[in-house]
């Protein structure tokens, strides 16, 4: 017994001494990323270059979280081991800001000589906005465009949109009517396929509607614009211009790759170009690009997926940290497509040469990029009211009274916010 006690005391003392020597140099910053494998090697190369350019002023270390990113990240934060910088997808920035976990970067963006708010595409930097302040530095933008099967359009004699066409959703539906039901390569084809993607925002915006106002307090969901927009979605289902949800049995992109649908709404990062080259010769088709169709106001509203790097509130030397963060962000702009900075469209051609034919459309998409107003309650609003309350019921039964659903969802959101 005594021996055991003695051993336990030794262990405890050792452990406490070890824990008290947890001193990190104040110019060492860790960035958490979900990059892993090959992506991580590229990431580390960028970090290395930034460190070398800093010449000892600061050192950035990498923390790769290859799986369950947010679980580990939030656990680290809870355990007082928050990384100084970390990646967040756009829907979470407001929540982390509201919870006091990240730093307001607005003053730094104003004072900086290398990177200001105006350098960003408006839609992209807005995704990092909360309470009129900016809380993160976006490093990538992936807006939606319409990919289409040029070969199919030509064969079926349907007029295709052009690369920067301001074609409307009414045009989109008219074209869909011309395509759906026709036979192509011995199969009945559809206009496109929808199964929860593209997201409901795309359709809400298609009629000029929206979810929340700029201030985040007023619910705009039950506006006429939303009703018109959702009616676009419902029409596609009701007129069988797209496959019924219950008959969809493989991934959306597979429908497009097998040439069973004529059009595909997806991000500019989608790699159909590469996939087509891997197909057997007789299965290949010519890829066309067009912008997301316009709403009744003539505005195209491509949904944009963006991630930002944010700074934890637990950073000691925030000025130095921002210097490092800015250098890192600028370095990211040469890494993936698309860099969210205006005037960098040619970089895309360098990073991803297969996208050169799409550059005009990509430019159009970036100029118009849009994301929803992500307030701190966004994850709940999106999951409970937009997905469960509106999108899913429509997918299950397109004949449902969607106006009623919209109104119920809107009042639900109102009660959640306390409108």
């Amino acid at each position: 017994m005594k021996k055991i006690l003695r051993i336990m005391i030794i262990i405890l003392v050792t452990v406490f001494t070890v824990s008290c020597t947890d001193n990190k140099p104040s110019n060492e910053f860790t960035i958490a990323t979900w990059a892993a494998g090959t992506e991580l090697s590229e990431f580390n190369a960028i970090v290395k270059d930034v460190n070398e350019a800093a010449m000892g002023k600061y050192v950035i270390k990498t923390l790769s979280i290859p799986s369950d990113y947010y679980i580990k990240l939030s656990t680290q934060i809870a355990g007082n081991k928050a990384p100084e910088f970390f990646w967040l997808t756009q829907e979470l920035i407001s929540k982390y800001a509201d919870l006091g976990a990240i730093t307001d970067l607005t003053p730094y963006l104003e004072q900086s000589e290398s990177l200001n708010v105006d350098d960003y595409y408006e839609g992209v930097i807005n995704s990092a906005k909360f309470n009129d302040q900016y809380w993160g530095l976006p490093w990538i933008a992936n807006p939606f465009i319409v990919y289409y099967n040029k070969t199919m359009f030509q064969t079926l004699g349907v007029e295709a949109p052009t690369a920067t066409d301001d074609w409307s959703w009414d045009d989109f539906i008219a074209i869909s009517r011309q395509i759906a039901g026709k036979t192509y390569r011995d199969k009945q084809v559809y206009a496109t396929v929808i199964e929860g993607n593209p997201n409901i925002e795309t359709f809400i915006w298609s009629g000029g509607g929206d979810i929340l106002d700029e201030d985040g307090k007023t619910v705009l969901l039950d506006s006429e614009g939303t009703v018109k927009g959702i009616s676009n979605l419902v029409t596609l289902f009701r007129e069988n211009l797209i496959p019924q949800y219950n008959s969809i049995s493989y991934a959306r992109n597979v429908y497009f790759e097998r040439q069973e649908v004529a059009m595909y709404m997806g991000g500019i990062q989608d790699d159909f170009e590469k996939k087509i080259l891997l197909m057997p010769e007789e299965d290949r088709f010519e890829l066309g690009y067009a912008p997301i169709p316009t709403d009744p106001n003539g505005q195209s509203n491509p949904f944009d997926w963006t991630a930002s790097t944010v700074m934890s509130t637990r950073v000691k030397d925030k000025d130095l940290a921002y210097e490092a963060l800015e250098a890192l962000t600028l370095a990211f702009f040469t890494w993936k497509i698309a860099p969210p900075i205006k005037g960098s469209i040619d970089n895309i051609g360098v990073i991803a040469p297969e996208k050169i034919p799409a550059l005009d459309t990509i430019q159009h998409a970036l100029d118009n990029a849009r994301s929803a107003n992500y307030t701190e309650l966004w994850t709940i609003i999106s999951d409970t009211y937009l997905w469960r309350g509106l999108y899913m019921p429509i997918l299950q039964n397109p004949n449902v009274d969607y106006v009623d659903l919209i109104q119920k969802a809107a009042s639900g959101i109102r009660s959640k916010i306390g409108d």
Binding site: D68, Y70, I71, S74, T75, I77, A78, K95, Y96, L99, G100, A101, Y245, N246, S247, I248, S249, Y250, T379, I380, D383, T384, R388, M392, Q396
Partner: protein, 286 residues
């Protein structure tokens, strides 16, 4: 006799110490957390009393998740136990290559959850998947499995049966301990194979069946990984733990999620106590 009584405590002591060191504190913390609005990353946590619990009982998603899980458990648990037991009995005989069979039937249990889910996404694929492919040989047009709300539960039941081999290790070691003399005297009394199994093997195995039943209840209600990866059309794949996980790590409502955990705990505890109490009626002790 006195010496015997106190010695037992020493054997059990390591676990008790470990429990106090590693488990008790976090569990007490979890009780407190369920009465707060803790968001993991936030610094301004407030005590909100029973508000989480009240919100849970009014949440339609909670009842839905509970129903999905309960419905699955009620069918899967007996199904898996019967399958597992039957296969174990077959594999306990000295037929040729039985060693290889044992490994093959146990293999599904050695793969980690995510890998299994990915593989089953293919198996259950309505167009190119293995199951519908085999059904087409019989001229049957297979259903859309995970893409069809009506077939989501059967999909998960199929996955459960596939993993039923996991229990054979528990049965095999004990099956061999059944004294052959019992079988011999039964044969002399004219018992056939089925009677021997039902009247001798099963009763002798009841302690192991009891173990598998308790473990089965716990794991059925805590089912998570494959449901999280595969989901299911029409919300039919939203098991309780998936709901809990989302509340905790997607909505950062850890206080609420912890309350959910305690409710699940009570449900499982309740069922376990019932089974434990019934033990004396059907579990055969040496």
């Amino acid at each position: 006799m006195k010496k015997r009584k106190s010695a037992g405590i020493y054997f059990v002591l390591p676990w008790v110490i470990g429990f106090i060191l590693f488990t008790l504190l976090p569990m007490i913390a979890a009780v407190f957390i369920s009465f707060t609005d803790w968001s993991i990353v936030g610094s301004n946590t407030q005590w909100i009393g029973l508000a989480n619990y009240r919100e849970i009982f009014q949440a339609e998603q909670f009842w839905h998740a509970l129903w999905i899980t309960f419905r699955y458990a009620i069918i899967a648990i007996p199904l898996v136990i019967v399958t597992s037991f039957t296969v174990s009995v077959m594999l306990s005989k000295n037929i040729r290559h039985v060693g290889i069979y044992r490994v093959i039937y146990y293999m599904p249990a050695i793969v980690s959850g995510v890998a299994v889910s990915i593989v089953f996404r293919w198996i259950l694929d309505p167009n190119n998947g293995l199951i519908n492919f085999m059904l087409s040989w019989l001229g049957i047009n297979g259903p859309n499995w995970l893409y069809d709300p009506e077939w989501v539960l059967p999909s998960y039941l199929i996955m459960a049966v596939w993993g039923a081999g996991g229990g054979i290790l528990t049965y095999l070691s004990a099956l061999k301990d059944v004294p052959t003399s019992l079988y011999e005297s039964a044969e002399m009394d004219g018992a056939n194979q089925f009677q021997k199994t039902w009247y001798i093997t099963v009763p002798m195995m009841t302690p192991i069946i009891f173990y598998n039943l308790i473990i089965g209840i716990i794991s059925a209600f805590r089912k998570f990984t494959d449901a999280y990866v595969l989901g299911g059309a029409g919300g039919e794949g939203e098991f309780y733990m998936v709901y809990l996980y989302e509340q905790a790590f997607a909505h950062y409502k850890m206080g609420y999620a912890t309350a959910l955990a305690w409710i699940l705990f009570i449900v499982i505890m309740f069922l376990t106590v019932i089974v434990n109490v019934s033990k004396k009626f059907w579990v055969h002790t040496a």
